[in-house]
Symmetry: C2
Subunit: 150 residues, 2 copies
Amino acid sequence: MQSNDLRKAGLKATLPRLKILEVLQHNRADHLSAEGVYRRLIDSNEDIGLATIYRVLSQFEDAGLVIRHHFEDGHALFELDQGPHDHLICMKCGHIEEFFDDEIQERQKSLAEKSGFDLSKHTLVLYGDCQTANCENNMPDHTTGKTTNK
Amino acid sequence: MQSNDLRKAGLKATLPRLKILEVLQHNRADHLSAEGVYRRLIDSNEDIGLATIYRVLSQFEDAGLVIRHHFEDGHALFELDQGPHDHLICMKCGHIEEFFDDEIQERQKSLAEKSGFDLSKHTLVLYGDCQTANCENNMPDHTTGKTTNK
DNA sequence: CTTCTTGCAAATCATTTGCAGGGCG
DNA sequence: CGCCCTGCAAATGATTTGCAAGAAG
């Protein structure tokens, strides 16, 4: 029961919050926009206002449950926080893949140190062409959050 | 005479474009928002509309003269394209520093390859605290583009 | 001259906020 | 039952676009 996750975060376990959390969990592999979450809820016949989605996602972000990204297209995408990792994004189909590399991690740390920075977080995104057969070469509607593919 | 840079890019050498290019060059070390460029022009008694700034910056981007970034705060910052490099950003004062690291570069290439991606570009940003004496601990007005410091 | 540009105001888009009614603890 | 939460509509802020008047080649 994920009501606990919410309580732990100091949030009442309300229906909208549970539903939104559910959507995020069912789409662990994806990175959804607020609209994307909205769409999926509508499709599931859940009647939740878009404003609420934004509010809840921000609360989740503050609670550390979710991470908000601003990739190159400017608008925000959300994903459950599942530990540190970086992203590979296909510029043709929008497919997003995750990866983690110790060596790069290390290097970042020492580079920040060299500049006297106390590093708190980072963002590394590799953009390219995923070259897969089913790369549909059509970027998903930014509003849809339909970022799955491949 | 930078009129040439413009002509080469297929753009007429108009006053607004020259002035904007000038601002970008005088602030090579910085990363300005459209508003930031606007402010500086106003301060120089140049009467150029904000819409024009946006239009020109986009044209410059298309022409490859300028790079548009979307750091974590969501709104766009521009800088002259001076070859590949990554960024270190102080979350307290907004200071932005640039760096370049071959090892990370290499690693990125091989990671993309491993995933079958044809890499075309990347973004690496390290966020932290610059810890300098003059870190004013006050983020610059996002609209100002006053990103210099330290 | 003809076409590319600009300035201004109006239009969009994503996201945020105010407020009155509802629901969790 | 009180305070936190939601929905809706209106407010915002950044960026874009339409259009008529102006310059560049």
